[in-house]
């Protein structure tokens, strides 16, 4: 369990993290989302006591990070792939981390095996690809078999098999009751991995909710119906005063009614349905909508400017408003 209380970080007059309060709970994978520059990395570094908060506090299982006995046994983190001395071998890199927390050297071989780096354990990490560096970072996080794990962009540089593996690793660890906190820019990946979401924008907390609620709250959901008897169905809907839109393929899109209710309606009217599926927007759409709103809300100035200037493409960094979740 990680608890943040009023966490704030200022650099000069810039506020990178602004009064963040949230709790990362065990047993689920918690996704940590936000645009570039939202303060995700700063927050994660403060969680590991690498950066000092300007104010506020962080508790790891109720303790300050510095009070932890052998912290690697409580919390493991993958911050950036290559926090590694390139001249040291993968094995020795892990060994010196292990020794500092009195983790037996045997465990180093184990984690190397787990991440699939055992065959290159004695190679200097200088020659490692991004994906291999990532695996080494994951190995370091697993070293102390900690109850809390943090991953910053874990799939960076991994190939599809590696992505699949890390996703299932994280889910498996959460299923064991561990606390898993993952930041990523890949919404589609997050949608598959995380159950709970913490979203920040401009250093402020914007959402702390389950994945399902987040998507439901921040996007349009509807029920899609296909039937061989569209006219009869239309009448039935009208009789029940349910409004429907018909899409290009002739399917009904119904907002504001649950699929169960429509199923019952069809049954009462002896209607054959070929599809009755609740549709949800993607996490990306929900995320874009939420962050777009926040930028408009927090900063009126650059919004108008960007809208004008960004004819072919959005302005860098300030362009949340030009793309809302338009995508189908």
């Amino acid at each position: 369990m990680i608890e943040l209380q009023g966490l704030t970080k200022r650099y000069g007059d810039k506020t990178a993290v602004d009064d963040l309060t949230f709790t990362v709970r065990p047993g689920v994978v918690t996704g940590f989302l936000g645009p570039n520059g939202a303060g995700k990395s700063t927050t994660m570094r403060m969680m590991l006591d690498l950066d000092n908060p300007t104010s506020g506090s962080i508790r790891i299982d109720g303790k300050h990070y510095r009070e932890l006995h052998e912290p690697l046994k409580h919390i493991g983190a993958l911050l950036e792939a290559k926090a590694i001395h390139g001249g040291r071998t993968a094995y020795n890199h892990l060994l010196c981390l292990a020794q500092s927390n009195r983790i037996p050297a045997r465990r180093v071989d184990e984690v190397l095996e787990i991440v699939g780096l055992a065959p290159v354990a004695k190679k200097r990490s200088k020659g490692f690809s991004l994906g291999m560096g990532q695996r080494l970072g994951i190995a370091a996080a697993l070293l102390g078999d900690p109850e809390i794990l943090m991953f910053d962009e874990p799939v960076n540089g991994l190939d599809p098999e590696g992505i699949h593996w890390i996703r299932n690793l994280m889910k498996g660890l959460a299923a064991q009751g561990r606390t898993i906190f993952v930041s990523s820019h890949l919404m589609s990946e997050m949608a598959l991995t995380a159950e709970h979401l913490i979203v920040i924008g401009r250093g402020k907390l914007m959402a702390d909710t389950t994945m399902a609620d987040f998507i439901a709250e921040n996007s349009r959901s509807y029920v899609r119906v296909r039937t061989p008897e569209p006219e009869k169905f239309k009448d039935a809907l009208a009789a029940a005063s349910i409004i429907a839109v018909i899409d290009d393929e002739g399917a009904f899109e119904i907002e504001g009614a649950e699929s169960a209710k429509i199923g019952e309606l069809a049954a009462r009217n002896q209607l054959v349905l070929h599809e009755l599926s609740p549709q949800q927007a993607s996490l990306e759409q929900a995320f874009m909508q939420l962050t777009a709103e926040s930028v408009e809300y927090h900063a009126g100035g650059p919004a108008a400017e960007a809208g004008e200037a960004a004819a072919p493409a959005p302005q860098w960094g300030a362009a949340w408003n030009t793309h809302t979740g338009k995508e189908a």
Binding site: L50, P71, I84, G87, S100, A140
Partner: protein
């Protein structure tokens, strides 16, 4: 609190598992011994042509340790890399996540650096001394049992240790290996030496860590030595520099975001 012995062991592993340790320490040893030997050979062959003043300054012990002037540059590199490579590679974040107690982390690093250099330094000093005396030969050489000689040879080992610790402290403050080496190497290789020869600056340069500290390596103090401190006093001045650098490093390490 991560156990200090565990952190010491970890720091020892860090030092022994990178190549830069081997090559910096090896070149420090080789440079010191070989250059010292060459200077001894030079003095022995040129003794007759050396003018009286210089002869009066001659100290067989410090002569056989004179290669340290170059050897210390390799030691400084070692001291700088031991800490700044953590920053330049990003390893510092992994290290501090594992050992969040900055004092334990820093002191362990300093202790490992000091331990290694002290052992190596004493060994190199004695080797350099004995080889130097052998080259100087019967007329010029001195014996380890002569007054002040053991102190000087042993002191050379201490000098090397303090020099490495000074580099560690400065590099902790500066973080970047390039900046640290770019300041330390020219300073000790050129600037300190030049300033100590300039009349006006001489009196200040005398208190520079290398100038003050190197006095320990003379077995006999020349009668006209202007420095107002003893051999041990000089080493003490150097130690003060080191303490200031190390404290500066610690304060910044503790205060700064990693």
């Amino acid at each position: 609190m991560a156990a200090t012995t565990a952190v010491l062991q970890s720091e020892w592993t860090k030092v022994r598992t990178v190549r830069s340790t081997v090559w910096t320490l090896a070149s420090a040893a080789v440079l010191t011994i070989v250059i010292s030997g060459l200077f001894c050979l030079l003095f022995r062959t040129q003794w007759d042509t050396i003018e009286e003043g210089a002869r009066a300054q001659f100290d067989a012990t410090s002569q056989s340790l004179s290669g340290l002037f170059l050897g210390q540059l390799a030691l400084i590199t070692f001291g700088v890399l031991i800490i700044s490579s953590e920053y330049s590679t990003g390893m510092i974040r992994a290290s501090l996540s594992a050992v969040p107690q900055r004092a334990t982390f820093y002191l362990s690093k300093v202790a490992v650096a000091a331990g290694i250099t002290f052992v190596l330094g004493v060994i190199v000093s004695f080797i350099s001394f004995f080889i130097g005396q052998a080259i100087l030969g019967g007329d010029l050489d001195t014996s380890i049992s002569d007054p002040g000689v053991l102190r000087a040879v042993f002191g050379a080992g201490l000098y090397m240790t303090l020099m490495v610790l000074f580099a560690v402290g400065v590099a902790t403050m500066l973080r970047s290996p390039m900046v640290s080496l770019g300041i330390l190497i020219p300073f000790f290789f050129l600037i300190s030496g030049i300033l100590s020869a300039v009349p006006g600056a001489k009196d200040v340069a005398r208190y520079f860590p290398d100038q003050a500290g190197s006095k320990i390596m003379r077995a006999t103090i020349a009668p006209d030595d202007p420095a107002p401190y003893s051999a041990w006093g000089g080493l003490g001045i150097m130690a003060l520099w080191v303490i200031v650098a190390l404290i500066g490093g610690y304060v910044l390490l503790k205060k700064r975001d990693a």
